[in-house]
């Protein structure tokens, strides 16, 4: 396999592995928690790297993912103490863990040589450097198969727990009434996100991996009314963004993840703009049809997708009740537990 093909394939697989759980992250309002996880895994990676000397080691990935889970659990504990307000609990723990990781790196802990630039935004080309050779034939970067494994685990998790994830995401209290162990599911899901973040660290670094997780899902959320449609669109945006971002970074000679983050941003703004425009055009046509005494005709693709909207409606209801309580919208999923 040629180097450029292998590396771009790696970009696509990494983007997909991050973006699919991202759909649930966005709907569960955990976006900034992923920012915390991505920072907090750093000390885990540094310590793990000192022992395994291999960023792709499964031990390192699981160990560092536990450090990421620490942020989730600490966040929940800090909220439960009732001594802190707003979104402050999310912003208290991860800087300290990240700072500890940076200090470990600069003190040359066990001779770990990680460049700070790589820590922040990763280096896809370096990650793709080690090729997997079978019978003397290169079959792509070794790291590609690590990310492929993570992608398969993510898809399997989402496929197996799809109904449960759906109901806990949209109506957590209803799920609890049904006797579901919502908290366990949430912890397991966040652990999976944490594993994905650690695995993608090599390619996207601690700071921009959140873009890979959140932005394709957010873009898909803009124009979808159903979870299944949203998941498909998320995957589509992730693939397009990965290829375009890879190309931008190649032309500008910059980090791939930086190119991807910027392109994802443009894609989000473009989709939001087109969506607004389409709504305006449709409203105008409907008004025209009404004044002409005709029934509103074809509503376009969104009209076809719009029928079963009860899932989002339930979430909107939950949001409104949260607002009535005066609690911050970002915190009320946790508060509801």
């Amino acid at each position: 396999m040629s180097f450029i093909l292998g590396t771009s394939l790696l970009a696509v697989v990494t983007a997909l592995a991050c973006a699919l759980p991202g759909a649930f992250v966005v709907l569960r309002r955990n976006s900034m928690l992923v920012e915390g996880i991505a920072h907090a895994v750093l000390p885990g990676i540094v310590v793990g790297y000192a022992f395994t000397l291999d960023l792709n080691s499964p031990w390192l990935i699981v160990g560092a993912a536990l450090a990421g889970l620490l942020v989730v659990l600490c966040n929940e504990w800090l909220i439960r103490t009732g001594l802190l307000t707003g979104d402050a609990p999310q912003g208290l723990v991860f800087p300290a863990l990240f700072a500890a990781g940076i200090i470990l790196i600069t003190l040359d802990f066990n001779h770990v040589h990680l460049h700070t630039h790589v820590v922040l935004v990763g280096d896809l080309n370096l990650a793709a450097f080690h090729q997997l050779v079978v019978n003397g034939v290169s079959i792509g970067p070794r790291y590609l198969y690590v990310m492929l494994a993570v992608l398969i685990v993510n898809v399997a998790f989402i496929a197996i727990f799809y109904p449960k994830l759906k109901v806990t995401t949209f109506d957590d209290q209803f799920a609890m009434v049904l006797g579901m162990r919502t908290k366990l599911l949430n912890t397991a899901f966040m652990f999976l996100v944490s594993v994905t973040v650690v695995a993608a660290f090599h390619a996207a670094g601690a700071l921009l991996v959140i873009s890979l997780v959140v932005v394709p899902a957010a873009t898909a959320h803009l124009i979808s009314q159903r979870l299944s449609v949203m998941l498909v669109l998320t995957a589509l945006f992730a693939v397009v963004g990965a290829l375009a971002g890879f190309w931008i970074a190649y032309v500008l000679n910059a980090a791939t993840s930086a190119g991807m983050a910027v392109f994802y941003g443009f894609m989000f703004v473009a989709v939001a703009f087109i969506d607004k425009l389409a709504i305006r055009v449709r409203r105008y046509r409907r008004a025209e049809a009404a004044s002409a005494g005709r029934p509103a005709g074809n509503l376009g693709i969104e009209g076809l997708l719009a029928k079963p909207r009860y899932a989002f409606a339930a979430q909107r209801r939950q949001e409104e009740s949260g607002r009535r309580d005066g609690s911050a919208p970002a915190a009320d999923t946790q508060a509801a537990e």
């Binding site: 979104d87 208290l92 200090i103 600069t106 935004v121 959140i210 873009s211 957010a218 803009l222 910027v262």
Partner: protein
Amino acid sequence: MVDPIEFFGNHTFRMVFFGTTVIGLVAGALGSFAYLRKQSLISDVIAHSALPGALLAFLTAVVVLGVSGRNMLGLIVGAVTTGTLAALFANSIAARTKIRIDTAMAISLTVFFGAGMIVLRIIANGPFPGKGGIEDYLFGNASVITIADLATSTAVGALALILMLVFWKEFTLRTFDPVHSTVLGFRASVIDTLMFTTIVIAIVIGVQAVGVVLMIAVVVTPPAAARQWTSTLPGMVALSGAFGAIGSGVGAYLSIAVGNIPTGPVIVLTLFVIFLVSLLASPRRSVITTTLRRARARESLRRELLTETTDR
């Protein structure tokens, strides 16, 4: 180890100490308002998004104006511009689409920071004078603070604090009862813009010494710690500023005394220790006090019930 007398005898060390103390004081005091308005995480967006602004200011100074790129005022202007743009971008996404504020913040943060990393690479690859150590904006390097830098950041920080004192009444009302403040005729948008500007200023003056990645801790941690000791706004702002100043000063001292560690991370860890002590053991509201109080209440209830039963 560097002992204190030697520390304060050294010009560079003095600059580091006073520079970081000023940053901690301003960020801690103004962070209280972000904390009380339950918008602590927006400071993370502003801090990360300060990177492209600071770097573009460097490029403008070097390429267009032909002067030294390391200019504190230019850095502040550039960083305030992009930091404010990023915060407005996040808020407008949340207001105009069905995307909620946490995701909107994540989108804004990554776009601006990604752009910053691309500009950083362009600077690193190009022939720009004075580009050495430009990567210090990421994790901060307090040892490059000059007297002029200290003077600029003190002046700008003082301006932010003066704004806070002048509009104290408006800020307080808007923080605790936004509806009432609107009813009384205060323009919400004007007060919000003012309050926001002071917070952005508090964040960007720390970019050089603490770095864009960890500046959130200097804004979020001191108020969270101070809140455990006091229940009045003046007390909280003062204590939070003091915690910020002490944590930053001690952190800067430790980073130099131990040697060869970037200043930002040590400051963050020092502040985190202050926060942990406050959360666990402050006399009025803390984890330990609450646990003790609950145990005592349970014990007294048990005794009361026992006496009732024996009386009968």
